[in-house]
């Protein structure tokens, strides 16, 4: 029997890594802010996060002795990131990935791999993105759920943990009230960004504005864009907002929208909800293990085969995934309330 298999390291390069790249290939099926994650590809099960905090306050006055005091840098407490083993397995009955795939597959045509990889790239990166932000293994998902949010723990669960533990002070959090609608109330979007900006802790202000970023629901970004347009009209300022401008900044801090946030929050909450985070860029960490696979050689990450007995296509893939926030205290979090 023929098998189409992809080794773990190749699977990482072809499917996982592109979803996190700065410039996502044009034909890649998923585009979002996953590129803002710092990716760690060697986390077998648990590893320290390298602290991205700036090192400072290390100079001391010299005396006449030969004794030195070595100062500890990179903070007192280190954070760990852990990964969970996850898998995907599906089967198709009387269904082809694309027309003529059986023929290509039987003939060992290299076209087969080229044509089905985008299928997995899309499916895997959407699920990785939804779980990276909203994943919670304690969540009991509704049977009608469209999004995968229960496979591994995501950023917002970690934020809830750090807020509850006081790592993120209450003064750096904002509860978005139920019924807030940024599509009709553009000023509310501006007010939200402004109050988040003003809640920045004093240490965070030492960063360049370009080193920070707002990650927001699409509606907050478009509301802010509408607000800028309205100000320009009434105040008659020189227009710098060109038609179709997509890159927005708030006082120099880039405003980046994640299109999948609102649909997922709406599904989890049962009503429209939003989220916005102001933090240091690269603060979100995604961990995987590029050598992890299963199968006969223990290295196979993706297998596709056709089972004649049942006339079915089978596919199976394995990966490890986990998320963590490197510096949760350098975050201002605004969230609707969802389960």
């Amino acid at each position: 029997m023929n098998f189409f298999t992809v080794q773990a390291s190749v699977f990482f390069l072809a499917v996982i890594a592109p979803a996190f790249q700065d410039i996502i290939p044009n034909d890649f099926p998923y585009k979002g802010t996953l590129s803002e994650f710092t990716i760690m590809d060697n986390v077998v099960s648990k590893r320290n996060i390298i602290n991205i905090r700036r090192v400072q306050n290390i100079l001391q006055r010299r005396d006449a002795s030969c004794d030195y005091i070595y100062k500890k840098v990179f903070g007192a407490d280190t954070r760990f990131i852990t990964t969970d083993e996850i898998y995907g397995a599906t089967k198709f009955c009387r269904n082809e990935f694309y027309q003529g795939d059986l023929k290509d597959w039987r003939a060992n045509d290299p076209l087969f791999g080229d044509k089905i990889l985008p299928f997995f790239q899309g499916a895997v990166s959407i699920d990785v993105a939804s779980n990276s932000y909203f994943g919670d293994i304690e969540r009991v998902q509704s049977p009608t759920a469209q999004w995968s949010t229960g496979v591994f723990d995501g950023i917002f669960k970690k934020y809830e943990k750090y807020i509850a533990a006081g790592v993120i002070p209450a003064g750096q959090t904002i509860a978005i009230a139920n019924g807030t609608d940024y599509t009709t109330n553009a000023t509310a979007a501006y007010t939200l960004l402004l109050s988040m900006y003003n809640k920045m802790p004093v240490m965070m202000r030492s960063f360049q504005k370009s080193q920070l970023a707002f990650y927001v629901s699409e509606e907050i970004k478009s509301g802010y864009e509408d607000y800028l347009s309205s100000i320009q009209q009434t105040a008659g300022n020189t227009t710098i907002l060109e038609n179709g401008q997509t890159a927005l900044t708030f006082k120099g801090v880039p405003v980046l929208s994640e299109p999948i946030w609102t649909p997922i929050i709406t599904e989890l909450k049962g009503a429209v909800g939003y989220a916005a985070v102001l933090t240091v860029r690269g603060n979100f960490v995604f961990a995987t293990d590029k050598d992890y696979g299963e199968g006969e050689d223990g290295k196979t990450a993706l297998e596709v085969w056709y089972e004649r007995k049942e006339s079915q296509w089978y596919y199976r893939l394995f990966l490890k995934a986990g998320t963590e926030i490197a510096l949760p205290e350098y975050s201002i979090v605004a969230m609707s309330d969802w389960d």
Binding site: K46, R47, I137, E138, V140, P143, D291
Partner: protein, 119 residues
Amino acid sequence: MLAIDNTNIINLGRGNGLPGFIPKIAYVYDSGAKTVTITDTTTYQAGDAKKKLVVKVHDKFGKSVSGTDAAAINVATLNLSKPLDITATLITNKDLVADGGAYDIAAAGDLSKYDRQYR
């Protein structure tokens, strides 16, 4: 030459060596009422307790329903013409996690093959 290449597991601080944490989850499948009831009789480490037990019941046709051990899980929406599968994730207050499953379930039995880890 290494008999077992362990270079990849030198950072392995977790795994199945969690003494005192012995997951034991039982199910009862009532085919008449179309419900699955889950009972947790896990042995927890001293001072630890269950935080949440998330259960998924899957049919052989790609559908699944989620629930907990708090109430019977209604499986009427699943296709019951082939045996059901159950997977469960048990999370404790100390963040120990165990994943287990029962495949092709009968009227009653235990989940098995737990993957235990801490995080």
